[in-house]
Every structure is written in structure tokens, then in C-alpha cells.
Amino acid sequence: MRGLQRRMLTTMLITLPLLAGGCAKVVQEAKAADAELRAALEAAKSQKDPLTAYQQLRARKKEVLTNHNPCRESGLLGRVECVEIESEQAFDAELSRLLESALQGQPTAALGWVFSEACDDDEKIVRIRQKYTEALLAAADKSNGNAADKDLLLGAGRVVAKGNGAIRNARRAVSFFARAWAAGAANAASEASLLFLNMNDKRNAYLWSLRCTGACRRDSRIALDTLQQDLSPEAAKQAQKLAESISVVELDTAGGQPS
């Protein structure tokens, strides 16, 4: 029994500092994160453009939370406990204010950003999208299609293609994607290709996949060899010729005859 008591005492003497040390660590992490977020807020005051300030602060917060983790798992149930970062609420409030200011002051650029693929996993931005969908589509309809509007047009195409907050309309979506492509949006061609593929229009899916070049990211579903397998050699050549013509938007096969 004495031997057992001695072992228990030894175990506790080792465990106690470890437990106390774990708690202190997350508090330290929270304090370090707090200091960095405050510094970022201060630095952002010199940035006149609200959209740029917003983007910089958002990226910085992500960086800070990656470098400093004020959370840990507790117990056997996998529950996560976090120490509050004091300035986080004020930081998030400033982010919201900057984004609203950008959407009011520079709607085109801000709308293009809010509806871009980069924000698809941001829950707060996804909620904001509902409020601004109509404004996005109105701005895209009026757009001259210049390079500054490429993200606006691409975002409008994605909204209408998926039917998120607007009636799904493939023809309208293709219009936006085609103009976004002309304006230089890198992934407009792949978005158009995916849209046609989802409608089982493999000819036009292949045509637009051919146009996914340079920085365009081609999804595996629209790999050229995969799409080409369903086309006769003549159909593939027809699509390749049409893809080279910068004015062609789509091949209309309604009522057409095999050639």
C-alpha cells in the first residue's frame, strides 16, 4: 500500500504542473493574438480604400488565428474550449463596417469580391450576398464589360448559373460568362464549360473547355480528353474551329441535323 501511495503521489506531482501549464499556454496565445489584431486595426487606419483595408484585415486575421491557437480540446467528449480574444469582437465589427462602406462606395469592385469564389467558404459573406444579389445582377447588366468588371460579370454568371438568390437561367449565365471571359476573368471559360456539362450539352462544354487556357483552372469533370470521348472526330473538330473564333458564344443545335 505504501508503494502504491508513493506511485500515486509521484504521478500527481508530475501531472499537476502539466495541467496548469496547458491552461496558461492558451491564455498566452489569446493575449498574443489580441495584440496582433490590435496592431492590424491600427495599421488599417492609414488605408484609404475600404475594400483594400477589408481584404488586408481579413487576411491578417486568418494569419493571426493560424499562428496563435487559443483553443484546445477538453476531456473525452472532444469538446473544444477557447479563451476569448479581447479585441476580436471590435475587429469583426470593423470588418463589417469596411465591407458595407465598400459596397456603398465602390459597388462594382466590392460586389465582384463578395461574389467571388474566394469568399464561398466565408459564412458571413455568404449571408451578405443575399442582400446584394439584385444589385450585383443590375450592375452586371449595365456593365461595359471592361477589365475592371471581370469579377463582377463572373460573379453574376455564378449566381444565375446556380440559381442562388436569382432565378436559374442558363442562357443569361452564359452571357455573363462570355463577357467575363472577354474581360479577362481567368475561370470564366471553365465556369461556362461546367454549366453546359450540367445541362448535358457536351459539345458546348467541350467548346468552352478548349478556351480554358493560361491561368484558367480546369475542373477534372471538364478535362478535354474526358469530354472529347463523347464526341465524334467531326464534332470535336467542329467545336475546336468554333472555339478559335472569339465572337462565338455557343453552338446552337436545336433543330440541327448531323453533318
Binding site: M12, L19, A178, V249, Q257
Partner: protein
Amino acid sequence: MSRAISSLVTIVLAVAAASGVAAPASPRSAPSPRTMSPSVKTYSYRPYTPSKAATQSKYSSTAQPPRRSLLDGKGDQPSERVREIIHERESSGPGWLGTAFLVSLLSRHDLSESDRSWISGKIGSMRAAGAATGENELLPAVTPAVTFVFTGIEAPLQVGKPATMKVAAFDSKGNKIPVTCDFPGRGAQISISADRFEWTPDFIGSTLLSCEASAHKERRLIRVTG
């Protein structure tokens, strides 16, 4: 000794209850506040669960067991890559692939010489045996019911410079048919007379020219540069 151990047990349990096991935690989700001590607030979070994928293709192929396979029979087989392609195609389609599919395979750029040789040999032997081409499996090239012919729009227009564009429409027999066109949103700026358009663009960007003939429509992208 026992009292010392009891005291230590009490302390350890208190610290454990307050601080738990120190281990890196996954990203935070929605909190419900709980005060740990007067000077430090903590929040309990549900374990992080990733959301579903944002995009899922609606295109799906119907899987059916192949009745016959191009890979059946004795003799040489193609590379594993080509065998995978054939298996995938056979399981997603009607189950029998004809020579047309093999012909389309030959247009791939990633075939080895031995694969090309196998495919060519297979086509030859199938044709010799009178096999069907399987043309119904592959989408043919299409001649549209109405063919639109545009001139003056292939190269980008120049902002501020007058441009003349023409369009003509023909039915499937080659007869010319009436066509109407418009620039959505820019009608006031365009002079349209019969099949001829004159336009002096006043912006840099692009617009869509939309034409219709005999209930068939075609859109063309017109670019304007500086």
C-alpha cells in the same frame, strides 16, 4: 501520507476540471459562453465539422454492367491506363463500344506507341469481322437548322471608330432568310438597316449582338478595344 495524497487528488481534480487535457484543438465554431475564472473567459465550442462541398456536378452517368468488353479475348492487352479508360466508358454507357469509340481514342495525346498499335489493330479486326461502328454512341457534328454568317466582328472593334458589320441567315437548304438583330441595352446607339449594322463604340469592353431568323437565335460576342 494519506492526507497529503487526498489533498493532492483534490487539487488535481480541480485543475483538471478547470483546464482539462491540453491538446491542440480544431478550428472554432459557434460558442456558448462559460466563465472559467474571474479574469479569463472561455467559450465551449462544438467540434468542427466541415460543410458539404459547394459545387456538385449534376451530370451523372448511368452505370450498367458491360455485356461484352473490348478487352475480352486472348492476345495482347493495352496499357493499364487505356484499360481503365475502356472499363470506365463501358460501365457508364450501353456496355458495348464500337469502332467509333476506338477511333476517338486515337486522337488522345497521351497514348504510347504500343497502345496506338493495339487500338489500330482492334479497329482493323473489328471492321474485318463486320462490327458496328457504334456511331450512335458519339455525338456527331451538327449543321444548325439556320446558319448565321457574320462579317466585321471577328476582330475587336476600336473605340471611337465607326464599324460596319453584316449578318446573313440561311436555312438548311441554303436559302437566304430574313434576319433581325439588336444589341441589348445599346439599341439607341445602333443604326440597323436590313442586314447591315453601323456602330461607333463609345466604350472599351464587350457587348452581345443577338440575332434571330425563323425562330432561331444566335448570339455573338463583340469586343471593343482602345
